[in-house]
């Protein structure tokens, strides 16, 4: 393990995250982990890591860092602008950095969260099987908190030949200001029989009050049926649950809560959560109803695309072209597809 980066300026909310902490929800320990698993995974693959390695998640404002030992880095996610010693560098691409180099990551122009991967992975200690920061519980990641100036990030050792490989993608996702999230009705859709169509036909605005726990939406109030139960005994939460509190303004729950007491009208597909994670306050959001079968099919197809990208990056000899859009039939996902 060697010291790789010293934080000069941490940015707004920068935390160490991996794919999350599983198997402890029954003790009240939420999953945590990268909000945008897609950006996180590709950043890792670009530097030769497995997707489960920890990266640095930065929200809106990126970090400034000094390099303490040679490493390969890659920045994905929000378009934050990456410079090394003042020279602009492309994202979704690996770069070699040397001792003394200055890395600066700016403010997101599109998207909301950037992911910086280091070859070998950020070597924060494992807590309950994960390196993810759980801010609410003040454990995991870097001392259970957001990074601050002076913090030093270390990396696990890596095969040098692998570190020096340059890998890149020739496309990146478009983070639009208006997104449609595909969602399966339920678990408490039967509390909203009257207003269900209203929910799926409405546009909502992402509130600035959103955080890693949940994305708060503002829009037409969604009412539960007159004959729906008064209260819900707290139930276990799944990432993507769209809660309807008494004020009718939906909250899409992410990965920092294990049980909740508000009814959920719908649940966003696991393969669409990264798009919400990249939505900025003020973004326009609507929901498209899909069946369980369709939802599971779409999620499986998306996993297939990711597997293809992973295999291509592992054996890369030239920059990777976008996968065939037929594999993932959503025009908003990649720049090439939308043109």
């Amino acid at each position: 393990m060697n010291e790789v980066l010293r934080i000069i300026d941490p940015g707004a909310c920068s935390t160490v995250q991996d794919l999350g902490r599983r198997g402890h929800a029954h003790l009240g320990v939420p999953v945590s982990g990268a909000m945008d698993e897609y950006g996180h995974s590709i950043a890792n693959w670009l530097v030769g890591n497995a997707a489960c390695q920890a990266t640095l998640e930065m929200t809106i404002n990126g970090a400034a860092m000094e390099v303490l030992s040679p490493c390969s880095i890659a920045l994905t996610g929000a378009d934050m602008g990456l410079t090394i010693n003042g020279a602009a560098k492309v994202q979704w691409h690996s770069h070699q950095v040397q001792t003394g180099d200055s890395i600066r990551i700016g403010t997101a122009r599109t998207g909301c969260r950037g992911y910086l991967a280091l070859a070998g992975g950020v070597a924060s200690p494992m807590v309950l099987g994960s390196r993810s920061t759980y801010l609410g519980g003040r454990f995991g990641g870097h001392a259970g908190r957001m990074l601050k100036a002076g913090d030093i990030l270390s990396c696990n050792g890596m095969d040098q030949a692998d570190v020096q490989k340059t890998r890149s993608l020739l496309w990146s996702p478009v983070y639009a200001d208006s997104i449609t999230l595909r969602a399966i009705a339920g678990p408490q859709d039967d509390w909203f029989c009257q207003d269900s169509n209203h929910f799926f036909q409405s546009r909502f605005t992402l509130s600035p009050q959103s955080d890693r726990m949940g994305c708060r939406l503002e829009g037409p109030g969604i009412k539960k049926d007159a004959d729906a139960p008064e209260n819900l005994l707290s139930i276990p939460i799944a990432a993507g649950n769209v809660q309807i509190p008494p004020d009718g303004q939906p909250i899409v729950l992410f990965r920092e809560q294990t049980i909740g007491g508000y009814p959920c009208i719908a649940t966003v597909l696991s393969c669409d959560l990264w798009r919400l994670a990249q939505a900025r306050p003020g973004a326009s959001i609507c929901f498209q109803r899909v069946s369980l079968e369709t939802g599971q099919h779409l999620a499986r197809t998306w996993q297939g695309v990711l597997t293809t990208v992973r295999c291509m990056l592992a054996t890369q000899t030239q920059p990777i072209q976008p996968p065939k859009p037929t594999a993932y039939n959503d025009a908003s996902t990649s720049r090439e597809c939308s043109q």
Binding site: H26, P187, S196, P236, T267
Partner: protein, 246 residues
Amino acid sequence: MSCASNTTCLPVGQKTQAYPLVRISGDRCLLATYGYTVDAAVNEKVRRIALLLYQEHNQGIEEVVPSYSTLAIFYDPDQVSVQELTLLLDQCEQKLTKIQSDEARIITIPVCYGGSFGPDMEDVARHSRLDTSEVIHRHSSSIYRIYAIGFAPGFCYLGGLDKGLHIPRLKTPRTFVAAGSVGIAGSQTGIYPQNSPGGWRIIGRTPLTLFDTSRAEPCLYRAGDSIRFLPVDRATFQAMLHGQGE
């Protein structure tokens, strides 16, 4: 208006009630509900089915999370379908009578009541028209079932508070409540596992660390266990606080 609901009723066994009610919670999770009230028997069924699912290492099940009357199964849809899981839940319920599951435990939590550890003790006594010794006696005489753990790591939702001790939350929550604080909110009593803000009426504090990620078993209890509070004096509290790590 028609309602395209994902909720399906599945009758189980010989009972007339259509439980569990299986609900879809996204593409990787289902919920099975066994009742709609805070009921020890229902909660015990949820606990034991969750335990069975957990112990049997069923293909494709990633995590099982129990709460009051509902359990969640997080699963990999490439390995197991909702139909298979519903059948599995049915089988588990039938096995419940035959299989010995490990008994729920009663965990004793020492509490130093009142004084600086229980800043709201006087208010609780006044509100319930009891003297503080009677509040302590009633609070420590019940056995409280842990219906669910959530909100924060190790935070337990307890049932069984003496009706005479019910009291509304503070109008203005405190910005700081010390870890181990024992409080009352409405008809509930509970313990804060970590330092946090909070609006419960605080009547005492336990020296035990309820949740610690460095322990092999991070939490002192599981949902379905019960808790009993044991009044201790300040000297015992201090001794236990210092003796804990040994």
